[in-house]
């Protein structure tokens, strides 16, 4: 039997068009080789939300009966390649629809590949990716994440670069020639060239069992019908109280079941020393993620922050709040606690984080979505094909 399945793990809305373009092109290219396939999204992800992880799949077989055998309507139980179009998803996936954190490589078969678009090195990504008890490969398509929105597609060739790399790491799915022909038909020769270049350049390294992030991912046991509450009742979250259980400030109680660890690509880093306690970050946060300290400072809680960046935008003090890419963090600990414990250490770390943010902005830009008409074209003119050096 020759059945090959791939998943594209992507950021809801931001990469919706991208993930569809990739999976559709896989199936159309497979036709050039006389194969048959199907492309589909996980339906329970379908009311997609900005930033919330979602999945799209392509399953290809030699003939229709083989394809039927895969039951390719539901999320496959295992895939040959897990394509990850935003490297911050390497920390795991909490989909829109379910509970608990799914490791990014959970569905990757033994000997399969996790293919990530990233400007990080494989060692950095492996710090985030959970350990697996079977060997697999980690391949990187060098480049920043490609984010756009629902209506205007950012055509920076990320789609075809992934397809070119896919032809290299998983030639049994579709070969490079079929991709090139399909890409030429769908788009143009420039994109065909990009695909070919990615094919030549993609780097793949083996990952051994036990290599990676040893943390046990957050999980949730679902009750059955006899133990679930009747009448569609869910018990509430309680209101919370003083900061860290003390007298002053306020710390909301947080929902135990759904966390936003995997929803964000960046998080706010706060300079508590220049904060003027204006309240705007706290008040304007749609995710109720700020704890109010007794002295009137605001500490963002990483269980509930989804990384939207509104706090940075509303903060009237320059660089008091800086959004910093998730790759710079290995835990979800409190910044305020850190600052209280070790002011100098915190300020030094803060400078490091700001520098990382500045570098990221300079290198690849930091927008996660549409800013204004003509922006994507301008970026493409300035930087050319994403990740092409």
């Amino acid at each position: 039997m020759a059945v090959t399945a791939v998943e594209v793990v992507y950021r809801g809305i931001f990469q919706r068009l991208l993930s569809r373009a990739i999976c559709r092109t896989i199936v159309l290219a497979a036709r050039k080789e006389g194969k048959i396939g199907t492309a589909f999204g996980r339906y329970s992800d379908s009311p997609e939300r900005n930033g919330i992880p979602a999945k799209y799949f392509a399953v290809v077989a030699d003939d229709p009966l083989e394809l039927q055998e895969t039951l390719a309507q539901y999320e496959p139980k295992a895939v040959d390649v897990s394509i990850v179009v935003d490297d911050s998803l390497c920390k795991g996936v909490e989909s829109w629809a379910w509970y608990g954190l799914q490791p990014i490589n959970e569905l990757t078969k033994e000997g399969g590949t996790v293919l990530v678009t990233s400007i990080q090195e494989s060692a950095d990504l492996l710090e985030d990716m959970h350990v697996k008890d079977t060997p697999y490969n980690l391949a990187i398509v060098k480049g920043p994440k490609s984010f756009s929105g629902l209506w205007v597609y950012k055509d920076d060739h990320t789609d075809v670069r992934i397809l070119g790399a896919l032809a290299k790491v998983c030639p049994q799915l579709v070969g490079i020639d079929a991709y090139k022909e399909t890409i030429r038909e769908q788009w143009d020769e420039l994109k065909e060239t990009s695909a070919n270049r990615a094919y030549d350049r993609v780097q793949s390294t083996p990952v051994e069992p036990g290599q990676g992030n040893p943390e046990e991912p957050f999980s949730f046991d679902m009750p059955g019908w006899e133990t679930m509450e009747e009448a569609l009742v869910v018990r509430p979250v309680s209101v919370g109280g003083g900061f860290r259980g003390g007298e002053g400030g306020f710390q909301p109680e947080r929902n135990e079941v759904f966390k936003k660890w995997s929803t964000r690509t960046m998080r706010p880093v706060i300079n508590f020393e220049t904060c003027t306690k204006c309240t705007l970050c706290w008040l304007q946060c749609p995710d109720t993620c700020f704890d109010v300290t007794p002295e009137g400072l605001y500490d963002s809680d990483m269980e509930s922050c989804c990384g939207c960046g509104v706090c940075e935008d509303v903060c009237p003090v320059p660089e008091c709040i800086t959004m910093v890419h998730e790759s710079n963090f290995n835990d979800n600990s409190s910044q305020h606690d850190h600052w209280k414990r070790d002011r100098d250490g915190y300020m030094a770390w803060l400078e490091e984080m700001r520098a990382a943010s500045t570098t990221e902005k300079a290198d690849v830009g930091r927008t996660h979505g549409f800013y204004e008409v003509g922006q994507y074209e301008k970026e493409f003119e300035q930087t050319g094909v994403a990740g092409d050096d």
Binding site: S44, A97, W98, M222, G224, W225, M228, E230, A231, L232, V233, V234, R235, P236
Partner: protein, 405 residues
């Protein structure tokens, strides 16, 4: 006519089915009632409004701007712990369909009266059972009644069973348009003390929506949860049988009623060769016909189905298997169904599948749009059923009766 407070304390009353249910609302101390006009059910709301105006009934009485709102309003009132009543007919019931569907999953004990009416188009006022039957799959308990007194008792039963914490499901009382909604009969009234003894207050326990119990009700689910939730509702419906039996026993004792079986009524069936089965007020011509045919020496009987949901399959299996043939009368239609049969026919056919001996069966559709079911047409149905008893099977499994050709 005028109703005053003293009227409802009379031991015996001349009232319609609608009026009986309106009085039941007063005696049950219903908290929220919503009205919207559509013939024939709205007679109940005309009586309700008069009872309120006279001070006999104290409740929040809301004239909604559509049936959808009518049912949504009482649904939400029920969630905060209020006893509720509403109702509709025909396409009005269908206009509320979304609200009807969600009430079951929410497990809210809404009680509604359906004044059975034909569905548009063309507009027609007369009775047909397709309106109420449309919710048969969703978790509504469905009751069909025959007399004004039964309508009143059924209303008290409905609140008692629906509000039982083991159940918490909505319940609809079907009253045939015109025959029950617009004509008056003598009713033996229970006293307020008897009603209070039979019907405890509605207590929603810790499912009640209130700032002191700040629960979240009915959040969005996906495939990880929904089948479990449906299974819970199914379990509640299955429990309803025992709760109905329990409640009927109490009602018989407290109200001095003599209902032998809560689910079905058997009329002269003991030594019968063939019986007809139906629901609602067509029992009147059927009972007369049974007596006339018995005068001619024909051993016939009639079985009236009172609860359609939960469906009295065990009772019907016992009751019907002993006859040489049975005929099922539907005052409804289910176009394209197996044998082109009506809804009751199809359900009974399914209920008897495992029964030995399985009686031969024929279905009849008659009385649609409120057309009179006459003694002649009832006799014709018995004759056809006798033919089936003789041959052992129905040449034509389904006949439309009383249709001009």
């Amino acid at each position: 006519m005028t109703i005053s407070t003293t009227d409802i304390r009379e031991k015996e009353q001349l009232i319609s089915g609608s009026e009986a249910i309106a009085i039941a609302c007063a005696m049950a101390d219903v908290d929220v009632i919503t009205a919207y006009p559509i013939r024939p059910y709205d007679t109940v709301m005309q009586f309700v409004s008069k009872l309120i105006a006279d001070g006999t009934l104290s409740c929040e009485y809301i004239i909604a701007e559509s049936e959808h709102s009518q049912f949504e309003i009482v649904k939400h009132a029920s969630a905060v712990g209020a006893r509720v009543f509403t109702g509709s007919s025909g396409v009005g019931w269908f206009y509320a369909f979304e609200a009807l569907a969600v009430t079951c999953g929410l497990r809210l004990p809404m009680v509604a009266m359906v004044g059975n009416r034909a569905l548009d188009d063309p507009g027609a006022f007369g009775t047909e059972h397709n309106d109420a039957l449309a919710v048969r799959d969703l978790g509504w308990m469905l009751r069909w009644v025959d007399t004004a007194e039964e309508a009143m008792d059924a209303a008290f039963m409905a609140w008692r069973v629906a509000e039982d914490p083991r159940i918490y499901l909505p319940c609809a009382i079907s009253t045939d348009g015109a025959f029950l909604t617009h004509s008056q009969q003598i009713v033996q009234m229970p006293s307020q003390e008897q009603v209070d003894e039979f019907l405890p207050p509605y207590d929603r326990g810790d499912f009640v929506l209130h700032p002191d119990n700040p629960i979240t009700i009915a959040p969005q689910v996906n495939e990880d949860w929904l089948i479990e939730i449906r299974r819970q509702t199914d379990a509640a419906m299955r429990r309803a049988r025992d709760v109905i039996i329990e409640a009927q026993d109490d009602m018989n004792r407290i109200f001095n009623r003599e209902e032998e079986d809560p689910f079905i009524e058997e009329y002269m069936t003991e030594d019968a060769d063939v019986v007809l089965v139906g629901m609602g007020t067509l029992s009147l011509p059927l009972k007369v016909t049974v007596r006339r045919l018995r005068e001619q020496g024909k051993k016939v009987g009639f079985v009236r189905v009172k609860w359609f949901r939960p469906f009295p399959a065990p009772e019907l299996q016992v009751a019907l298997s002993k006859f040489k043939a049975i005929g099922i009368i539907d005052r409804d239609y289910s176009l394209g169904a197996p044998q082109n049969g009506g809804v009751l026919y199809t359900e009974i056919r399914s209920a008897l599948y495992d029964v030995t001996p399985r009686p031969p069966m024929i279905g009849f559709i008659c009385g649609l749009g409120g057309r009179e079911v006459t003694v002649d047409s009832s006799t014709e149905m018995f004759d056809k059923t006798f033919e089936v008893a003789e041959t052992g099977h129905a040449e034509e499994p389904l006949l439309w009766i009383g249709v001009r050709s």
